[in-house]
Symmetry: C2
DNA sequence: ATCTGGATACCACTTTTGTGGTATTACCTG
DNA sequence: CAGGTAATACCACAAAAGTGGTATCCAGAT
């Protein structure tokens, strides 16, 4: 009997999942939450699941941050991320944070059940699309010194994420500089670094990727 | 017994919803689909639902286009849109296309059931946040002649949507012009009009809104 | 047959973004 | 303490984006 916790800010989805999973003898849904914070409070009370199903695109606290917190504090909990998108360079970072699975929401329920079981048994579960990225990633592990430094999947810093959000809110560099009491130069430097890390060519790409990564909205 | 069809490209969500709804005596889920196209083919075969639950953010054909097609061809079918976001000026356009409901996915299942019932009985169902926008919208129905023409919620044309997608793919105006065999001037004019219609200040805003509206990815 | 909306095209100008550097400080970690 | 990383700041130039016009052509609607 695998003990589960589900987190997703789409309440209908949450209830649907719970209904499906509860039908099976193999799973017990301990609780469901619409935010990472509530879930963290629950864990703090002492009851821990075997597997945590976590939506990656959550407004309040990004699924990624939640995952990292959980894995740091409760290493015995195994985490499966759920996402609408497959996030190229981003998956790497997630892997390093110690998640056990990454499934697309386009996955069918039978596959989901199988994935949970596999993860509960100590194995891993990734949607095929995601698997591809992981495998390719290993190929380019050693960065050739001569080649471009773009495409490295470094995580954005807190400050950088803050910047991305302000840019998404249609602020210009000047406005952001004023708002954060920074020099415009600094803000531009940050944006430059952000674009490098995200491996995008312009604002359009940056905002799109930020959306996919759950950084904004 | 209300006959339903569900459309969403998240398969797990779809199956969860079906499980929940089938548990009730009041609803019968005729079929579920992961794309608007499949669903249209089903309708063409002659069997029609009372209510169609339609995810707004779908990759292949945006939920909006699907809704418009269905409502045009099968006016007896009542449509409820499901979305993660509440889309200010956009709701207006949807209303005009004749939908009967607009619910956020953060809605709970009981409210969803109630909403479906209400719609099936010929009434309407909107999440409170959406309702707000609609009501406010009616206030500003008559556009004051002297004021700005920004903020009008005209729908984007097909060409404009095409442009938005190319911009989201990080193409510059020049590249788009080459790709579409257009003058760069034309492309710039389009972008200008797009930004006016969407009521955004820059590319960042445009891409963000496009995402929320389900225009891209 | 006129009117409207959509797509096309052009111009001139300002502002912002994007590129490609360097450099200092502070903090944290091994 | 040495080394790395994040945050700060600056410069100059090139390339786009964004503003505010006007105008033609065509197709579909009235």
């Amino acid at each position: 009997m695998t003990k589960l916790i589900l987190v997703d800010d789409h309440k209908v989805f949450l209830q649907g999942m719970e209904a499906l999973l509860s039908r099976s003898e193999d799973f017990e849904v301990l609780a469901t939450f619409t935010s990472g914070l509530e879930m963290m409070r629950f864990l703090a009370e002492g009851e821990h699941p075997d597997v945590l199903l976590l939506d990656i695109e959550m407004k309040a606290m990004g699924g990624v941050e939640v995952a990292e917190n959980v894995l740091k504090q409760y290493p015995s909990v195994r985490v499966i991320m759920l996402s609408t998108y497959f996030n190229d360079g981003f998956v790497q970072q997630l892997m390093e944070s110690g998640i056990s699975g990454y499934l697309l929401k386009s996955t069918g329920f039978p596959e989901l059940k199988a994935a949970i079981t596999r993860v509960a048994e100590g194995s891993f579960a990734f949607s095929p699309e995601v698997m591809d990225v992981i495998v390719k990633g290993f190929g380019s592990k050693e960065k050739k010194p001569g080649s471009s430094q773009s495409g490295d999947s470094n995580p954005l810093t807190d400050r950088e994420i803050e910047l991305v959000r302000l840019i998404a809110d249609e602020l210009t560099m000047k406005e952001i500089a004023e708002k954060l009491f920074l020099s415009e130069h600094t803000v531009k430097t940050h944006r430059k670094n952000i674009m490098g890390k995200m491996d995008v060519k312009n604002t359009a790409g940056m905002i799109k990727k930020a959306f996919i990564l759950g950084l904004i909205e």
